[in-house]
């Protein structure tokens, strides 16, 4: 099961920012906390973070856009990540990625029109000795093959 995210709320956002603003080098900590609560980093939060940390909006926006993890908009209800790095490539991961794109009808890095499934690449989950690997809503799956992948996709689409 996945935890439902809260809808964006300015007061709640301010509370989260205040909670972490005092730690050393707080920007990433705050962006992570915001995304954990709302499922993405809502745009109105950027100037709020800047004000709390005495930074410019550009600086915070720059940090936000540098890191692959931070989302500009909510992901689909389920997020399926497929490892595309070398160890998984060696174990047939690329064919699985092509299969997933076909079955979902979307390119890796996008969300289905019904907002059900987001398919994303990930560059190494550290499960290289049980490759190829995937992660569905935080649940790790190793030794992926066609049948296991199809089962994961069916689960995500349900």
């Amino acid at each position: 099961m996945i935890t439902p995210y809260e809808p964006w709320d300015e007061a709640r956002g301010a509370e989260i920012i205040a909670e972490h603003a005092k730690v050393e080098g707080a920007t990433l900590v705050i962006l992570h906390a915001l995304q954990e609560a709302f499922g993405y980093v809502p745009e109105p939060a950027i100037p709020m973070v800047a004000a709390a940390l005495n930074l410019s909006r550009a600086e915070v926006y720059g940090v936000f856009t540098f890191y692959h993890d931070f989302r500009k908009e909510p992901a689909g209800r389920h997020v399926l990540k497929l490892c595309r790095a070398e160890a998984c490539q060696a174990a047939g991961g690329e064919a699985l990625a092509v299969r997933a794109e076909k079955r979902l009808g979307i390119a890796c890095g996008s969300t289905t029109a019904d907002q059900r499934v987001t398919l994303e690449p990930v560059y190494c989950l550290g499960l290289c000795a049980t490759a190829p690997s995937a992660v569905l809503d935080g649940r790790l799956v190793g030794r992926l093959d066609h049948a296991r992948l199809d089962a994961l996709i069916a689960e995500a689409q349900a």
Binding site: E86, G92, G126, A129, G138, R143
Partner: protein, 516 residues
């Protein structure tokens, strides 16, 4: 006495069903009215046998694997009767793949309960710390120097020199930073040790803090490792309760405390100066050196920044003496290296051994060749920035200098095996593409070179003026190697050039080859 059963909670074991197996074992025990003690451990690193379940017997721990939930009931009967079972592997310590290793850093991984401070102490934990306390900073530093330990993150820089520089620098605040941004594909040793023996990392960092006079430590863990993050946080909390870590304030000014910080999916943050920028809350832009982090590191303060495996090697060195560590190895590569075997391999996992074993022994003998049963064609050593080695170089001993002499690197000790279906032009293109995606953008050779490189390989693959474009790629690689600020741009040429050099036939379209 209750039956003691051990199931790994390592992410690699969980990914292949260890949680489901745990549940099935508990249910089978309950159905039989049997009380068991079930301990979740790290992994022993024999991943083709995961989930590998163990049971304590008077003769030692007996292993079973790979176990599925359906095997739980029959396995439990075999455990009770100490009888035969199709999945029974015998005494875990006697499994040849494990027995032929030299486990110094990973001695406890997969054996102890990673959440139990008592278990850690019962298996020799904190003996290195106690000895460092007795020795004092100068003698501790001398031990680290005498061990010959070199940075296990990839660069192989002597650990003691970093420590000495920080120790010799006067400052009101010094930091210990543990680089747990293990982004290289084919490497998972940091993850395993953090999940399986997190206290050893804490102990290593604490010894570093004592030696250089630091009061605050950070472990920067990549966000792709939620299990490791949870394990480290739990271990830090336990170490605080046990009095080994002391948050500053209160009546002690000598405290050392550690905090976990989580990365956000940027590969370049594994580079030490980029990591420091990220810890400070900024874009992970690489810093120009000098100043060295040892002089001006985190928040401009003197900082020891080492890889997880470097810190994890320290407690053994202090507890057993530098000589016990340095006696292993070859040339200037002393001690052991936790080598990680993965990709298309029959027996993948963690193999800790003294430096000097050959690449061929590792791939063919230890690894058992490919999982597909096809011939091994290439192996990439040292992550996405490491060179591809053909079979003809399998006599290369695992040693920093020996790999450098053959235009490669051992990096963080990852070996990824490919069979004969691999297209090396595609792999070379991927190296450029990965660099383009992950480049921090600060220096031109890396930022522009990676994109131009991918475009040029595309032209080669399409058969456009192949010889000219190969020459262009070589020239570009030379520029990137010599002109980039850090290893991302500087080492991307390794996979590209090694693919071109050892597998030139993959860069020549068939029609051209036929015409020649």
């Amino acid at each position: 006495m209750n039956l003691r059963v051990f199931v790994p909670q390592d992410a690699g074991a969980v990914a292949v069903g260890a949680d489901e197996v745990t549940h099935a074992v508990e249910q089978a025990a309950a159905a039989r009215g049997l009380a068991i003690d079930l301990v979740r451990t790290g992994s022993r690193g024999l991943y083709w046998l995961e989930p590998m379940v163990e049971v304590a017997t008077p003769a030692g721990r007996v292993a079973f694997g790979p176990v599925t939930p359906a095997d739980a009931a029959s396995m439990l009967e075999a455990m009770l009767a100490d009888g035969p079972h199709p999945l029974r592997l015998g005494l875990a310590d006697e499994i040849p793949w494990l027995k032929r290793q030299t486990r110094l850093t990973f001695a406890r991984c997969g054996v102890i309960d990673p959440r139990s401070l008592d278990d850690y102490r019962a298996h020799g934990g904190f003996q290195g710390f106690e000895r460092a306390l007795d020795l004092g900073p100068a003698a501790t530093l001398a031990e680290v120097a005498a061990s010959g330990l070199r940075g296990r993150g990839g660069a192989g820089f002597p650990t003691s020199i970093k420590w000495k520089t920080v120790a010799d620098t006067t400052a009101d605040q010094k930091y210990i930073v543990c680089n747990a941004d293990e982004g290289d594909s084919g490497t998972f040793a940091d993850r395993m040790i953090m999940e399986g023996d997190p206290f050893v990392v804490i102990e290593g960092m604490t010894i570093a803090a004592l030696t250089v006079g630091a009061t605050k430590g950070y472990i920067y863990i990549r966000s792709e490792y939620p299990h490791a993050i949870a394990a480290m946080n739990a271990a830090i909390a336990a170490a605080r309760r046990g009095g080994y870590l002391r948050p500053r304030g209160g009546n002690s000014n000598r405290g050392f405390d550690i905090e976990v910080r989580v990365g956000a999916g940027a590969y370049v943050c594994g580079e030490e100066t980029s990591l420091l920028e990220s810890l400070e809350g900024r874009r992970g832009l690489v810093r120009a050196k000098p100043p060295l982090p040892a002089h001006k590191g985190l928040f401009g303060k003197p900082t020891v920044i080492n890889n997880v495996l470097s810190f994890a090697a320290i407690p053994f060195i202090l507890a057993n003496g530098a000589k016990a560590y340095a006696d292993f190895g070859m040339g200037r590569s002393r001690g052991t290296m936790p080598i990680q075997l993965s990709g298309n391999i029959r027996h993948g996992g963690l193999f800790e051994t003294a430096f000097g074993i050959t690449l061929g022994e590792l791939v063919d003998d230890v690894g058992g060749g490919t999982a597909t049963g096809r011939p091994v064609r290439a192996v990439q050593v040292g992550g996405p920035l490491g060179a591809y080695f053909p079979r003809s170089l399998f006599d290369t001993p695992f040693d920093y200098e020996a790999f450098a002499a053959r235009d490669g690197l051992i990096g963080h000790g990852g070996i990824v095996v490919f069979d004969d279906t691999v297209d090396m032009a595609k792999q070379a293109r991927f190296a450029f593409e990965f660099c383009a995606v992950e480049s921090c953008g600060k220096c031109t050779p890396c930022r522009i070179g990676s994109t131009r490189g991918a475009e040029t390989i595309d032209k080669i693959i399409r058969g456009e003026r192949v010889a000219d474009h190969v020459a262009l790629v070589e020239d570009l690689c030379n520029t990137m190697k010599l002109g980039s600020l850090c290893a991302l741009g500087g080492f991307t040429p390794y996979p590209v050039m090694s693919a071109l050099k050892h597998f030139p036939q993959d860069f020549r379209p068939e029609q051209l080859e036929a015409a020649e």
